[in-house]
């Protein structure tokens, strides 16, 4: 398991922002996920070694923070907010529509690896409910028609 020199340079720059290397845990894990799509056990060991902590410490963080992925997700990762304000504005119908349309259940990835669907807790976008986060981007004020058009535009 190794990362290239450019990656290690980015990690060095992150570590330098903190008084202790361990504090770079979250940003370094973000870099790993950006590079590999998810964080596997080997990467955890690499991070542990770089930050001078135990692999268990790293694994504890990867499993605590819900945005870190322990296995690959779909190319288009759909995270539907279903907390109260979104629920009041139809997020459950949105989830049902996506399940039907993508032919997956919440938590699953399509067979071709294109789409994965999860429910998430409040994304801080309650005034534009219902909404979901597609990879990094928020898609707001959704209607079922808008969702269909969006899905059709994705490869």
């Amino acid at each position: 398991m190794s990362f290239d020199a450019a990656f290690q340079g980015r990690v060095d720059a992150i570590v330098a922002r903190y008084p202790q290397p361990k504090a770079a845990m979250l940003p370094v894990l973000w870099e790993v996920q950006k590079a590999k799509g998810h964080i596997d056990t080997e990467s955890e060991a690499w991070v542990a070694n770089r930050l001078g902590v135990s692999p268990a410490q790293v694994h504890g963080c990867v499993t605590f923070y819900t945005m870190y992925k322990q296995r690959p997700s779909g190319r288009h990762h759909i995270q539907v907010c279903t907390t109260l304000s979104c629920m009041l504005r139809g997020s459950d119908e949105l989830v049902a529509h996506l399940e039907k349309r993508l032919n997956v259940r919440v938590g699953e990835t399509t067979h071709d690896g294109r789409f994965s669907l999860v429910r998430v807790e409040c994304l801080g976008s309650c005034d534009t409910a219902p909404m979901f986060q597609l990879n990094d981007d928020y898609h707001e004020n959704l209607t079922l028609e808008k969702v269909d058009r969006l899905l059709e535009s994705l490869t």
């Binding site: 202790q20 979250l26 940003p27 605590f64 109260l84 119908e93 409040c122 309650c126 005034d127």
Partner: protein
């Protein structure tokens, strides 16, 4: 006449995120004034006099919090200023607006706070989902450093302060200040017992102050216009200044609305918010301060939205997330969804919260699904009572407080579910009960 927009004055302007645009509208003049002519203690005193209270949820006086910091810096224990940008309380989306649309206002406020508490580094802890806001802030920091508003020798003086954006990764609990410090140190976001309070021993066991994004965004205006001006906005002496209200749910125009503290709730919902979403569905209930505060029935909504008026009604302003529910809302379904949130977000350290929140959710889902038992109603209250005050942090309370208020204020509706194994006629059942 609508009140002057203070905090959101740049929102909607072209290039509102650019430094040049911020400067053209008087930006960074407060920093210049403070660093040039005020001592850190003088700045703290001015903020104390203004009456500014924290906008993150607890409403603690900001100047008083700053004054707890040591007056001299021990080089072995530098002071740290942390900005809580982990905005995660359901119903809250004001800090995101400020960061995305006026990042330099957030940075100027951050620098002023750092100056007041004698910090040379400020970490902005932002929730992981706010990728866009993170990018906007990072670009703004680069601009600010290039013009000597941040970084080494600010404005040519002796004081230096580095700004670092630190991105979380999906954990509501990290908005709790001690959990935020644990997370920043590279651990799981576990809250810590207080005392010691952060000003005595915070991140890396050093003196630390933690402020919410909106809180520090007020500070440049206090410096520029003075504490007396701030006292003239809102309801003096204890509910002063401008406030961002987050309106969501069954209203026609949800959004962030700025008004002086003390905005009447009815004005927010029926005038600014355009009234109820469906003309034939009247107001049923409002959660006024994010999902962790007690709910108000429609007949209790004749209230001003400020710390003390809501406290007098037995609830809280919290993070000013006003969630509006109309007559179609099943209160059991709504409460079940809230309980699910807290169960999902409990960090798991304290048994009453870890087990209690899950228990609450399962019982609420059972009642909603028509399998509720008569004793479940009192059981919900007794579990809540056993969570309240028996945990390290307030997350357990945040699940217990709404539960108690929902069951007590809508007891007939809960009873109906037990008696008839169905929701009230005209309300929509919870879909996809887990």
């Amino acid at each position: 006449m609508p009140a002057e927009r203070i905090l959101t004055r740049n929102v909607g302007r072209p290039d509102s995120t650019a430094l040049a645009s911020y400067e053209a509208n008087g930006g960074y003049q407060a920093l210049r004034k403070a660093v040039g002519s005020m001592t850190p203690d003088g700045l703290t005193e001015e903020v104390k006099k203004s009456g500014l209270r924290g906008r993150g949820g607890a409403g603690f006086p900001t100047g008083l919090k700053w004054s707890f910091m040591p007056k001299e810096v021990d080089p072995k224990r530098p002071h740290y200023f942390l900005i809580n940008a982990d905005e995660s309380e359901p119903g809250t989306f004001k800090d995101r607006l400020l960061m995305e649309k006026d990042p330099h206002l957030v940075l100027e406020g951050t620098l002023l706070g750092a100056y007041a508490i004698r910090a040379s580094v400020a970490y902005i802890y932002i929730r992981g989902e706010f990728v866009h806001a993170t990018q906007v802030l990072e670009r703004a920091i680069e601009e600010a450093v290039a013009k000597r508003y941040a970084g080494k020798n600010i404005l040519g003086g002796a004081w230096s302060c580095e700004l670092v954006v630190h991105r979380g990764a999906g954990a509501y609990i990290c908005g709790e200040e001690t959990a935020l410090m644990s997370s920043l140190e590279g651990d799981r976001g576990y809250p810590r017992l207080k005392p010691p309070f952060p000003a005595a021993s915070g991140v890396w066991k050093c003196p630390t102050t933690i402020n919410n994004v909106e809180t520090v965004a007020n500070v440049p205006f206090i410096v520029e216009r003075g504490a007396d001006w701030f006292q003239s906005v809102g309801k003096a002496p204890k509910n002063t200044g401008p406030k961002l209200y987050c309106l969501s749910g069954h209203v026609r125009r949800p959004g962030v609305y700025e008004a002086p503290l003390g905005l009447p709730m009815k004005e927010l919902i029926h005038e600014l918010g355009g009234g109820m979403l469906h003309a034939d569905r009247p107001l049923k209930a409002v959660i006024p301060g994010g999902s962790s505060v007690p709910v108000l029935r429609a007949d209790e909504c004749d209230v001003d939205l400020d710390f003390d008026s809501l406290m007098a009604k037995g609830t809280m302003l919290g993070s000013a997330g006003i969630m509006v529910m109309d007559a179609s809302t099943c209160m059991v379904a709504a409460m079940a969804r809230i309980a699910h949130f807290y169960y999902h977000e409990s960090c798991g350290q304290c048994t009453p919260c870890r087990e209690g929140c899950g228990w609450l959710e399962r019982i609420l889902n059972r009642i909603e699904g028509g399998k509720g038992l008569q004793q479940d109603l009192d059981l919900l209250l007794s579990i809540s009572d056993n969570i309240m005050g028996n945990t390290i942090c307030a997350l357990g309370d945040a699940a217990a407080m709404p539960t108690i208020s929902f069951v007590k204020k809508f007891r007939d509706e809960f009873q109906h579910h037990v008696d008839h194994k169905s929701c009230l006629t005209g309300t929509l059942a919870l879909q996809g009960v887990r």
